[in-house]
Symmetry: C2
Subunit: 341 residues, 2 copies
């Protein structure tokens, strides 16, 4: 498959520049402690030969790979339709690129893959891992931590309360939810419903907590579990409208859910926000801005989360658990007021 022309080596560069391999190496790696005329000569030689360092040889001696694994534990196709991962990936990619790191993508599907991923990570092929695991009962995070690879989680891992030391980046789901519900209450709404996400995901659970912080568990009939999808939102909204009294406000666990709920509300002739005020979560632009009316929602900067995960991992470097060790970050959310509430 490979019939590439022989690539120039450092040796060749050194020869052309009339210096030793050691000096050429120094220049390629920043050029500290090399006098200017030589630096220039080597740089030119690199340019002329089109030299690119052989990463394998470099890794062999440095024991660094300048590569980070991104693990997405994703048994369900559905979630792919959510731009959430894509945006985080983009943030991660940008940050890694800025630090000349490569992104090795590991998608898992079922338990067999877990072993494979564990083996890969333990094999020391990458300098660290960024892990997305949605579900509370996922064994993958534990497996990975045991592999002894520096790791940053995307979203608070469900089990992390006691097995401290897990570094993660998350949005302030609870605080954001609280703010949304408080806003609805401030509007004078009294029957504020909540359409949740899948409650085995911490983000959904945390948003429910935020809702309860304000509403208490007063009327459990106002809470309907759903699944973060538009169709699920429709279903949940129908269910809510059948209850008595039906809500005068709805806090949906994400924008997709809110868009589904909105569709049902209009179909049933309820005016938004006059009859029912509606708030979403995420501020996913193509969704939130183009609904009618545009969605009031809780914004979280998803791409920034990704960027931060990468930054945390890279900064933590090879020495995890040492004093400079990174600690988790919870990003603030902001309420974006549009027309729906």
């Amino acid at each position: 498959m490979t019939d590439t022309a022989p690539r120039p080596t450092l040796e060749a560069v050194a020869a052309r520049a009339g210096v030793s391999r050691a000096t050429a190496s120094r220049v390629v790696n920043g050029g500290d402690g090399v006098r200017e005329p030589l630096v220039a000569r080597v740089r030119r030689a690199v340019e002329e030969l089109g030299y690119v360092p052989n990463q394998a040889a470099r890794s062999l001696v440095t024991r660094r790979h300048d590569a980070v694994a991104v693990v997405i534990a994703e048994p369900e196709t559905r979630v792919f339709a959510d731009p959430f991962f894509a945006l985080q990936l983009r943030g991660i990619s940008k940050e890694l690129t800025a630090h000349d790191n490569q992104l090795v993508l590991l998608l898992t599907e079922g338990r067999d893959d877990h072993a494979r991923v564990g083996r890969y990570l333990a094999g020391g092929h990458v300098d660290g891992a960024l892990v997305f695991s949605l579900h509370l009962d996922d064994p993958l995070p534990g497996l990975i931590q045991r592999a002894g690879v520096p790791t940053v989680f995307g979203g608070r891992p469900g089990w992390s309360e006691d097995s401290g030391g897990a570094v993660y980046v998350d949005s302030d789901n609870r605080g954001g939810a609280r703010e949304a519900v408080q806003h609805l209450v401030g509007l004078g709404r009294t029957r504020v419903a909540h359409i949740t996400g899948p409650l085995d995901q911490t983000s959904a659970a945390d948003r429910l907590e935020g809702y309860r912080d304000v509403m208490g568990d007063a009327d459990p009939g106002l809470v309907v579990e759903s699944d973060f999808t538009p169709a699920g939102g429709e279903r949940a909204m129908r269910e809510l409208l059948e209850r008595h009294p039906s809500p005068d406000a709805v806090f949906a666990a994400n924008d997709l859910t809110a868009s589904g709920a909105l569709r049902v509300l209009r179909e049933r002739g309820r005016r938004v926000p006059e009859d029912v005020a509606l708030i979403g979560f995420d501020d996913m632009l193509p969704v939130a801005e183009q609904t009618d009316p545009p969605l009031t929602t809780v914004r979280q900067d998803i791409e920034e989360m990704g960027r931060l995960m990468a930054r945390l991992l890279l900064r933590g470097g090879a020495e995890q658990g040492v004093e400079g060790a990174p600690s988790s970050v919870v990003l603030p959310t902001t309420l974006v007021r549009r027309a729906s509430a």
Copy 2:
């Protein structure tokens, strides 16, 4: 989580098994030409020590990396909302995993990144590349081909007509579109409209060609350019309904567009399919099945496309009875009849 224990080397395995490093290597790589008792001894040593080959050292001598780059040229955030890439990625990932290859993800954003990607690929860090480039004027594909890396494109590259030798995997967009439109005509519809995708993408352009194969360019007023999004579909549908006479059938360039169009049709009180028959493209399940009425659409197996791309790259083209040189594959589509047409 202190210092990572030094990983065992082949040398250590050999010592424990009482053989030479060469023999240990042979066993690790399949064990051909080594007598059974030794094979077993080495295998046990590997097990006991938890030995994992050092990929860097291996690559250094073999010049293979067992890694494939996936390049997604993506200037626009929008497209991420499309599960299209995600599904292809999943297919690719599965196939690569099955062959013990790693997936290195390269996302590009703007021209600066092109140079970076070119350099990376030319640097010989991966055995091949799978490239997604949507737009006709994208310089990336050319750049990559010049890098001399085995490459398979996802979707027909726009420029490939003359610069032959580009290997790609695509759906039969034109044929699928033709079948859809023929179906509409077969239903007795005479004013069949087409809401296109962005016409600088070959998939959208090919679907338009398929439409024209059946309808000719008779009434250019029946063709509206759009952008593969639900909101775009709404806009285009509104535009179509204002025309005289308004269409009695619509072929939308993808399901997302169709769902937007459907929303407008219902809003305006047009019955589907009685007044206006509607067909989409993709058979994206969460969308196509859950619309009301469920969408008749042209199915393409997106995940299979990804899998095939990877297979083509890894096997150098010796796929599906194709002899010798790798050649492109165009996958057939199938019309899925549901209620909308």
